[in-house]
C-alpha cells in the first residue's frame, strides 16, 4: 500500500475530494498547513511598513491506498488540483508496511477503503 500526501491550493480541496471519491478513495485526512515553495508570498503593509510573508496557506490531503489504486489516485489529484500556475502544490508517495482498522482489527488492504 501507498501513502499519498498532496499539498494543494485551499480552494481546490472540494474538487480533489470529489475526484478521489469518484475513483473509490473514501478515507482522507485534511490539514491546513503553511508552506513556501516557488510561489512567492505577497507583501502586506501596516502603517506604511512593509511585511513580505512568504509562508502561504495550503491544504494537505493524506490518504493511504492499495498499490493498484495509487496511480489512478495520483492522476485524479493532478487533474482536479491543477491550474497550470506556480503554486498548484506537490504530491509525495511513500510505501506503507501495514494498516489496521481499529473497530474490526482487520489488517492490510481490507483495512483501507
Amino acid at each position: 500500500m501507498v501513502k499519498i500526501e498532496a499539498v494543494i491550493r485551499p480552494n481546490k480541496l472540494d474538487d480533489v475530494k470529489e475526484a478521489l471519491d469518484e475513483i473509490g478513495v473514501k478515507g482522507i485526512t485534511v490539514t491546513h498547513v503553511m508552506g513556501a515553495g516557488k510561489q512567492r508570498g505577497r507583501t502586506q503593509y501596516y502603517r506604511g511598513q512593509e511585511y513580505v510573508v512568504n509562508l502561504l496557506s495550503k491544504v494537505k490531503i493524506e490518504t493511504v491506498v492499495p498499490d493498484d489504486l495509487a496511480q489512478t489516485a495520483v492522476n485524479a489529484i493532478v487533474d482536479s488540483a491543477s491550474t497550470g500556475e506556480i503554486g498548484d502544490g506537490k504530491i509525495f508517495l511513500t510505501r506503507i508496511d501495514d494498516a489496521v482498522r481499529i473497530r474490526t482489527r482487520e489488517e492490510g488492504d481490507v483495512a483501507l477503503g
Binding site: Q44, Y45, Y46, R47, G48, V53
Partner: protein, 437 residues
C-alpha cells in the same frame, strides 16, 4: 446673544475668583439648564466609551498573545483614574488655584463640589456634571500612553506608573490650561478640548516611555504584525463617535458652539481619513483599512484644540495636513529605531502639536467670541502663546515621565522577563487567553 451670555459668564467667573481670594471655596451660583446638563452628561458617557474603544483600537494592533493585556491597559484606567479623580485628582486639577501651577486640596473627596453650577467653569450645569465630564478626559489621557509600551510592560509597574502620571503630570497640566489662575490659560493659550492637555502630554510621555523601556524582543527581526485589524477599525469608529462628546461636549452647553465644534470635528476626521488613504495609495500602491483608521484618529487629534475656534474649511486644512505629518513621523520612527509600538507619539504627539499650532493659525472670533483671532485673522500673538504652551507641555511631560519611570522602575521592574514576553502578557500577567479557537 452668545456674546452677551459670555460676558455675563466671565463677569461671574471674575466675581467667583475674587470670592476665591477671600473665601475658602468658589461660590455656587447660576441656574441649572436642563438642555445643557443633558448634553454634558451624554458627552461624559460618550467620552467614557472612548477608553474601552481605545483598548480595541490598540488591542487589534498587537499580537494575539497580548490582546487582553493591551485592552486591560486602557480598560483598567477607567477604574483607577475614576477613583483617583473623585478622591483628589479633580481637586488638584480644578480646585482653587495654588500659585498658578496646581489646585489646592480643598475639593478632596468632592467636598464643595456641589450639584449647583460653578460659574468659574460652567454657569448652566451642575458642578458635578462638569467634574464627571472632566473625569473622562483624565481617564483617557494616560490610556493613550499605553500604546507606546504595549506587549512588554509588567502590569504592577504599569499601575504604579499610571497613578503617578495621572497625579503628577495630567492634573497639573490640566490646571495650567483650564483652571482659572492656571499660568498657560493666563498666557492666553487656547485649547478647546485638550490638544495640549490630552494629546501632547500623552504623546510626549509615550515617546519617553518608548525610549526608556527599549524595544520589544524580536523588533526588526521577527514579523510583529497586527493580529486583528477589524478590531482596530471598530475601535476607531467608536473613538470617532465618542469624540463628538469630547469636542462638542467641551462647549459645556447645548447650543451653537457645540454644533460648530461637532461639525468641524467630523469634517477634520473625514479629511484626514481621505488624505491618509491617498498618501498610502501614492506611497505603497494600496490604501489600507488600518491607514483609514489611523488617519481618522489623527484628524480627530488635530482638530481637538481648535474645535471651538475654527470653521469647517479650516477643519479640512487641519485634517489634510495632519495625515502627511503623522505619516512622515511614523516612517521616520522605523529609521530612528525606537519602538513606540502603536505610534502614540507619531499620531497623538505630532497630531496634537500640529493641532495646537493650527489653532494659532486658523482661530477666529467669528466662530467663538470668547476665543481669539489667529495668524490668518491678523493676530500673530496667539501663535506665540500656542508655541509657548506646546513647549511647556512638551518639556514638562517628557521630564516628569522620565522621573516617574525611574521611580517606578526602582519600586518594580518596568518590563516583564524575556521569557514572559515570549509567552505573552495575557498568560503571564493575567492568566488568561483572549481567544480559545
Amino acid at each position: 446673544m452668545r456674546k452677551v451670555r459670555w460676558v455675563l459668564k466671565s463677569g461671574l467667573a471674575a466675581l467667583a475668583m475674587i470670592g476665591l481670594a477671600s473665601g475658602p471655596a468658589l461660590a455656587d451660583g447660576g441656574k441649572v439648564e436642563p438642555g445643557d446638563t443633558a448634553w454634558v452628561l451624554a458627552s461624559a458617557a460618550m467620552v467614557m466609551l472612548m477608553t474601552p474603544a481605545l483598548g480595541l483600537f490598540y488591542g487589534g494592533m498587537v499580537r494575539q498573545k497580548n490582546v487582553l493585556a493591551t485592552i486591560m491597559h486602557s480598560f483598567f484606567l477607567v477604574a483607577l483614574v475614576g477613583v483617583q479623580w473623585v478622591v483628589y485628582g479633580y481637586s488638584l486639577a480644578f480646585g482653587p488655584d495654588f500659585h498658578h501651577i496646581i489646585g489646592n486640596l480643598s475639593w478632596v473627596g468632592l467636598k464643595n463640589v456641589t450639584l449647583l453650577p460653578n460659574p468659574a467653569y460652567a454657569g448652566t450645569i451642575p458642578h458635578q456634571a462638569f467634574m464627571i465630564y472632566q473625569a473622562m478626559f483624565a481617564i483617557i489621557t494616560p490610556a493613550l500612553i499605553t500604546g507606546a509600551f504595549a506587549e512588554r510592560m509588567r502590569f504592577k509597574s504599569y499601575v504604579i506608573f499610571m497613578l503617578l502620571w495621572a497625579t503628577l503630570v495630567y492634573d497639573p497640566i490640566c490646571h495650567w490650561v483650564w483652571a482659572p489662575g492656571g499660568w498657560l490659560r493666563e498666557l492666553g493659550a487656547l485649547d478647546f478640548a485638550g490638544g495640549t492637555v490630552v494629546h501632547i502630554s500623552s504623546g510626549i510621555a509615550a515617546l519617553c516611555c518608548a525610549l526608556m523601556m527599549g524595544r520589544r524582543h524580536g523588533y526588526g527581526r521577527e514579523e510583529i504584525m497586527p493580529h486583528n485589524v477589524t478590531m482596530t477599525v471598530l475601535g476607531a469608529g467608536l473613538l470617532w463617535f465618542g469624540w463628538f462628546g469630547f469636542n462638542a461636549g467641551s462647549a459645556l452647553g447645548a447650543g451653537s458652539l457645540a454644533t460648530s465644534a461637532f461639525v468641524v470635528t467630523n469634517t477634520a476626521a473625514a479629511s484626514a481619513t481621505l488624505s491618509w488613504c491617498l498618501i498610502e495609495a501614492l506611497h505603497r500602491g494600496k490604501p489600507t483599512a488600518l491607514g483609514a483608521a489611523t488617519g481618522a484618529v489623527a484628524g480627530l487629534v488635530a482638530i481637538t484644540p481648535a474645535s471651538g475656534f475654527v470653521g469647517p474649511m479650516a477643519a479640512i486644512a487641519i485634517g489634510c495636513v495632519v495625515s502627511g505629518l503623522c505619516y512622515m513621523a511614523i516612517m521616520l520612527k522605523s529609521k530612528l529605531g525606537y519602538d513606540d509600538s502603536l505610534d502614540v507619539f507619531g499620531v497623538h504627539g505630532i497630531g496634537g502639536m500640529w493641532g495646537a499650532l493650527a489653532t494659532g493659525l486658523f482661530a477666529t472670533k467669528i466662530i467663538n467670541s470668547a476665543g481669539n483671532n489667529g495668524l490668518f485673522a491678523g493676530n500673530a500673538a496667539l501663535l506665540g502663546s500656542q508655541l509657548a504652551a506646546v513647549g511647556a507641555v512638551v518639556a514638562y511631560s517628557f521630564t516628569m515621565t522620565f522621573i516617574l519611570l525611574k521611580l517606578t522602575g526602582a519600586l518594580s521592574p518596568l518590563r516583564v522577563s524575556k521569557e514572559d514576553e515570549d509567552i505573552g502578557l495575557d498568560l503571564t500577567q493575567h492568566g488568561e487567553y483572549g481567544y480559545h479557537v
